[in-house]
Every structure is written in C-alpha cells, then in structure tokens.
Symmetry: C2
Subunit: 158 residues, 2 copies
C-alpha cells in the first residue's frame, strides 16, 4: 500500500518536470475525457488525495478551485503543502486501520460503507487512472509520456 | 494487494460489457497513445498480467499476438483461460513472498532486480494506467466510460 503511494508521488514529480517543457497553452487546453486538461488533472489528483486523507481523519475538507491554481508552480505549491499532511498519515499506516469503517452519504441520500483500506486503495487507483489519461494527451501533443512502470524504481528498498 | 487485483478484474469485466455496445470498427480503430486501440488495450492487459505471473513462477512465457485475438469474444476467451492460472496465484499470495527477488535482463544487457512485491504492484498499476487511456477514448466516441471508483464495490468483504 505505502509502496504504491510512493510510486504515485514519484511519477507525479516526473510529470511536473515533463510539464516544464510543455507550453502553458497545452497544459491548460481543454481536452476530451477525464477532468479535461493536463494541469487540471494534476491539480485534481493532488486535491482528491488530500481530501480523502482529511475525510478519514474526520478533519474538515474544502473544495479547492482549479481557477485559483492554474499554473504549474501553483499546483506544485499546493502539492507540497498537502503532502506535508498526507505523507505522515500514509507512513503511519498500520494493518489494524485496514478494516475501520467509513460511512459516506451519496448525493441521492443513501449511506454507503467502505473500509479505510478500500478508501486508501481508491486514492491510489484514482491517481494511476488519471495519469493514464495524461499519457494519451501527451501523445496528442507529440511528446513521450512519463513511464508508468512501477518496477525498476527501487521502491522496495525505500 | 489481492483487493486491487479483484478491483481490476471487476473493472475489466465491466469494460467487456461496455464493448458489447460499441461497433467493431471503434473497438479496432488505431488511436493515439498507449498500445493504440480499445480492444488491443484489453488484450494487452490480459497478456501482460498472465505473462508476469508466469515469469515469477519460472514458467515459459510466450508473446501472444493481437492479430490472433482481435475480436471481443477472443479476448474474453483468452482472459478466461489465463485467469484460470492467474487467480489461484494471486489468491495464494503470502506476506513472505513479498521480498523474494526477481532478476531481469533489460534489452541493453543490464541485470535489474525487483522484488516479487514490486512486480505484483507493477501488474496492478499497469492495468489501471491502461484503463485510464480507455476512458479518454470512450469519451472520444461519445460514450461514458466505466467508473474507475474502487470504493462502493464491496471489495473488502469478498
């Protein structure tokens, strides 16, 4: 579990460096699928990861707006700020937290129950899924995407 | 770990049903990014998952060709055949297998070492990444993609 968070953080950093060589216009262009753009996707990943970690801890969440973070620098700043809170939670994860229950209310009023273990894996899958979308858009603008390989990153020894 | 394999299998089944309502032309059309098409991606996911599980077990691997599996029915058949071998391996996974070493030779002759735990997570991330690509292509043809949500599927209790 922790390995996959570290994988996501590593891949995300590589995408930030990738973005440095892409025009602001291409980073902001509204595209088909996902949340509709390269930088918006990175913002969304950062926001959602932090929001879930907040929710699990019973802390107030708030919806950041992309309009206030629509530059690479601003997204990276937000990420650094949120990571300060997310990373200690992930590193302090223990087996016994796996089956704690989380009750959520859906927009139509139903109450659904998930375990904390499911929520943590949801966060992981959420990011990888959106990064897959970035890889298509990268090719659309003629650039090689960041490798999604998890092997070969020395993650087991970190 | 096992939960994420079950998530992937569940999502994959939903994509197969999604494909049933898409024309063969759209399933086979060569698209930008990834391995270049919807059905080809599903074939690739199935092939790669099985291949890695074979490699870990020291069994001979062989490269299936998409040309021999270029219909939805054929991909589903291949998946069912491979799942018969993949699923017992995943379900029998034990903590002690996590740090077993896997030595691989790269195309340029270097030997890289990963743990079995890394390889298993690589398989998981590989599929989620490619499914993210499908979600973009789904929107391109005007269809809603399968939800990538991991929560709300009752995965903790299965």
């Amino acid at each position: 579990m922790q390995m996959m968070f570290r994988y996501n953080w590593m891949v995300r950093e590589e995408w930030y460096r990738w973005c440095e060589e892409v025009s602001e216009e291409d980073l902001l262009l509204v595209r088909t699928g996902g949340v509709g753009g390269i930088l918006h996707t990175l913002f969304h990943i950062v926001d959602v990861e932090w929001s879930w970690i907040r929710i699990l801890q019973g802390k107030p969440d708030f919806q950041e707006s992309f309009d206030d973070h629509n530059t690479l620098e601003k997204v990276k700043e937000l990420d650094a700020k949120f990571r300060f809170e997310v990373e200690p939670f992930v590193r302090a994860w223990e087996e016994q937290m796996e089956n704690r229950l989380f009750h959520d209310k859906t927009p139509d009023g139903r109450v659904v129950t998930d375990t904390w273990g499911e929520v943590m894996r949801h966060i992981i899958a959420h990011e990888i899924h959106h990064i897959g979308q970035l890889s298509v858009w990268a090719r659309e603008i003629g650039k090689k995407p960041i490798s999604a390989n998890l092997i070969g990153r020395g993650l087991a020894s970190k």
